[in-house]
Symmetry: C2
């Protein structure tokens, strides 16, 4: 038996003579990159031979090593020779397969940690008179990456850092992005500090996660209001404000940037992370929000045939976006799927792993508009409805976003009174989406409200807390919003020749917080009543999906192909649509409960 010592840990592995060094190291748990399957052609499994004797490399291996600027007298490919005596080896970082870690999102998906940015500490090769190369070439040589691309802005921004490296203290940290691109250089070893931000860019509310990109862990979450609200509560009023008015569009952009930057600095302060340490940001928002965020014209989105400028945006240099993060970082927008099915829905599809879920699954995003995606074994079909912002509290007289003082829960007690809970536990200042659904259900049960939406109390108001009441107009808003969503659902199902009973799952997403009462949503007919467990509230999947896209480059590729492959159902404004819409206005449960002793009738 011989011994292989792995540096720097000094771990000793007993080896039976004759085993390939690559196999020995791999089986002992060192994740050596055996990309070409030990064929000696990819050159990825190189190790440094620190001591001990190994057979010399053949011509092909020598060429491969030299092409990587590695000295064949010092480095060998681990797949090219069997262990024949005691050895000490060092496994360089680039010879390992990228670390993977399993993350659990709210929906329980497992993803592989594969972020599009990473840091490597390196000692650049120094120029001398016999090899008078440039500082950047010296860095590439130190990294073992002679063909590394350099982002244009990086050339300018890092020249001073490179020029300032003292001859003795040689360690610097290279920040590498996708496609082997150098994004930044930092003095010293900063590899333990690499962060990203995932952002749900909602019309009403913003939510952001600060993420440690090396660990995949969330360091903090912050929620705030979209500062564009002063230009109008819903998407249509923002569109109207920015339509053919570049100055107003710029103000809308400034407003949302200020809100996002405030969130980022709040997160950074709390976690002790500086803006320059944030190299990657993912933004998931609807089509209008993502255009306004980038300062792109929304004119095409305001009039038929409703076309945005982009669906898939290239990763943008952060310095160009106005976000207060490292300007050499990148900002990635979750791809828009269609003109009115935006990156927030894409993020939802990503977060829930919709394309690979078994059976027929309906994904329902109750954001500012109701967006719907139906997954069948024929693929995905999306549609968008004109639900408006009622479920975000925006068009309700006493409506609030999910913020302190908002009623987010309500129950009808046995004594006929309605008990409410508020976010933060203080006095009620209004009601948010989940509270609205609970309240409507409670008023229906108590008989204050008819299924057709008429308020049955003489004062035509529905009080629920001190000084707080729903008006008949508020009820009408919710009724219209719910009818729009139901109509979209029915049209989607019909387009795939399915009935409600064929659905294996209904996933309800929305920025409600974690409190949607599914029973009440079914009771008021907002979502179909299905056997226990088939309807799931999946929370803020826009934020969740943004985090997945932050942590995984592979998931981005999948998301981008969605935007090419998904089918779109246009809700025709025809007589049949009107008929379905009118039928959907009632707060009745659907499909209707089966009458006793008769065959169960499926909704058509």
């Amino acid at each position: 038996m011989t011994t292989v010592t792995v540096l720097p840990s000094g771990r000793r592995i007993e080896a039976r003579s004759g085993v390939l060094l690559a196999d020995l190291l791999f089986e002992a748990g060192h994740p050596l990159n055996l990309y070409c399957g030990r064929r000696g052609v990819c050159g990825k499994c190189f190790v440094e031979i620190v001591s001990g004797s190994v057979p010399p490399a053949d011509d092909r291996e020598q060429r491969l090593l030299r092409s990587k600027n590695l000295d064949p007298d010092r480095y060998r490919l681990a797949c090219r020779f069997p262990v024949a005596g005691d050895l000490s080896v060092r496994i360089p970082e680039p010879s390992m397969i990228p670390k993977t870690r399993i993350l659990s999102s709210g929906e329980g998906r497992e993803i592989t940690l594969d972020p599009t940015v990473r840091k490597i500490a390196v000692c650049p090769a120094r120029p001398d008179v016999h090899s008078p190369h440039s500082l950047l070439e010296g860095l590439k040589t130190g990294l073992g990456r002679p063909f590394l691309r350099v982002a244009p802005e990086t050339l300018f921004a890092t020249a001073a850092v490179l020029s300032g490296i003292p001859a003795g203290d040689c360690l610097v940290t290279a920040v590498l992005g996708d496609e082997e691109e150098l994004r930044g250089i930092e003095p010293g070893d900063t590899t333990s500090r690499l962060f990203g931000v995932a952002l749900d860019l909602g019309t009403t509310t913003l939510a952001a996660d600060l993420v440690d990109l090396a660990a995949g862990s969330v360091l903090g979450t912050a929620v705030g209001l979209n500062g564009q609200a002063s230009f109008g509560a819903d998407v249509v009023s923002r569109l109207t404000a920015a339509f053919k008015d570049p100055v107003r569009a710029a103000s809308l952009r400034d407003a949302v940037l200020a809100s996002i930057n405030a969130l980022i600095s709040e997160l950074g302060r709390a976690a002790g992370v500086r803006a320059e340490e944030i190299y990657e940001t993912v933004v998931a928002g609807n089509t209008v929000m993502s255009h306004l965020f980038l300062g792109l014209p929304i004119d095409g989105l305001a009039v038929a045939p409703y076309a945005g400028v982009f669906s898939v945006a290239p990763p943008l240099p952060a310095g160009r976006t106005g976000l207060r993060v490292n300007p050499l970082g990148r900002v990635y927008l979750a791809p828009n799927l269609q003109s009115f099915v935006g990156g927030d829905v894409t993020a939802g599809i990503v977060a829930t792993g919709l394309p690979t879920r078994p059976g027929n699954v309906l994904f329902l995003d109750l954001g500012t508009n109701g967006e719907l995606v139906l997954k069948t074994n024929r693929g995905l079909t999306s549609t968008s409805t004109a639900a408006g912002p009622a479920f975000e509290g925006a068009s309700i007289s006493c409506g609030l976003a999910a913020q302190e003082g908002a009623v987010d829960k309500a129950v009808l007690r046995a004594d006929g009174t309605i008990a409410v809970e508020t976010i933060g536990g203080g006095p009620a200042r209004g009601v948010c989406g989940t509270g609205l659904i609970d309240l409507i259900a409670a008023f229906l049960r108590r008989g204050d409200l008819a299924a057709d939406g008429r308020v049955l109390r003489s004062e035509k108001r529905l009080p629920f807390a001190s000084g707080q009441a729903l008006s008949a107009a508020d009820v009408r808003e919710i009724q219209l919003a719910a009818a729009a969503v139901k109509t979209g659902m029915r049209a989607l199902l019909a387009s795939e020749h399915l009935t409600v009973g064929d659905l294996d799952e209904v996933l309800v997403a929305g920025a409600f917080g974690n409190y949607l009462n599914v029973e009440n949503a079914e009771a008021i007919g907002l979502i179909p009543r299905l056997p226990e467990g088939r309807v799931k509230f999946v929370g803020n999947t826009s934020l969740e999906g943004a985090r997945v896209l932050l942590l995984s480059g592979r998931e981005r590729l999948r998301a981008e192909s969605l935007s090419r492959d998904i089918r779109h159902l246009a809700l025709a404004r025809d007589e049949a649509f009107q008929q379905t819409f009118v039928e959907s206005l009632s707060f009745n449960e659907w499909p209707p409960p089966a009458p006793p002793c008769r065959a169960n009738q499926e909704d058509k």
Copy 2:
């Protein structure tokens, strides 16, 4: 016999039944892209079937066509079926192999026209309610390139153009760069207007070509002075000016930008080309000039171990460089080879095709410094000498760049008088490099000058025109410059164990204009005397090579690999060097002419 009509030309090709459509079209001279060799797997040879009957596409072909967003009922792969009856087909531009054209550079090299930017006129797919895609997706569909990348700055800059396309008038022009990247969008069909600039960024003089990138033709050439001259005539004084002084470095950058922009507008005015029509610029300059041009610190180049920031720069967005061309275009710098062997030498290597010339070839660039490259069958070795700017006239009392009024030719007449010619034919205002060499040769022949450099006339001056004379100090400058070049040559040859006689060619480049008298250069010992025809003056290869790099992406890849593969010879400042230098100071011919009746002695 059946007939295939090719649209839009209406050309009719007679076909024997059973021949593959692809073969018929190809053999008739239509350069159909048969990338996969008619195997039906690459999908590149698709044609539109305008009329006539063809067999239906099989499943695999249908999938391939759909993946390119082509309707299988309308498009077919030409390699998939034999002609069986009369047909009308249209061959879309993307189905053709890229046009190639042969260009002849001054050195007679042939290159394939393969520019890194091109224009395609396209009718974008319009969004409608059933396919509510974005404007950019519609453009990609129209181009048949669903995976086209979009340059970040292009997203912002072209949104307004895209949004402004009227529904009826659908033709726009896409500007595509390397690696399938969208750089720009212009309204209407502007495909006939695509231009580039090749620039020789010299320390003293600038020279630029305006090039039609579609035709590969030069529309005009302009020459000017580098406005940095007010900061010092030579590279060392520029280095000194900018050293650790960012404000001064910025002034140097502004000065050269103003000079370049003046040249570009002069060229544009003369040819009727607008700045926005220039999408590609190639700059070839020495290391210091290219750093100052980009505003990068030169501190590393000023002190040992002499390291620039970059060797190979990424293609830069033109808007970032300060050049007055289309800001969405790219600026490419000819790669630097070593700290003091810059992109101007790389351009020279490219222009002369040095790596593939037969035998042992010495390339000598008599620019501001003397840079030398020796090609043998072992590859390339470079060195740089401290020749100074004498051959650009810069350190000579009556020295001028190659500009109007400069003496550029001189001959000793039979009557013992020296006749001079000036650029422009007017009175002599000074002397430029080629004139200097002619004058030294003439004064040597007339006996006014000793081979060791002593002025033998009593007044210690060498008059050559009214009010114009070379001083003893001027002669010393030329002597030192020539000795530096000769010493470098000898050291290079020695490093490869070659003698002067082993050289098959000596290529002498420099911004002299086209008038270097090789006989005189040999007579004063600046270049070795070799059998007739082995020494060639190749002109301004920096400008020439910049033009090659402008016209051919493949040549860029080759140039970039040069910077990794070339060896560098450091001229040791040791006793042997001093000895060679002192020996080289004489104006004698070398190798010395063979004495009569004795064996020819080769220079060692």
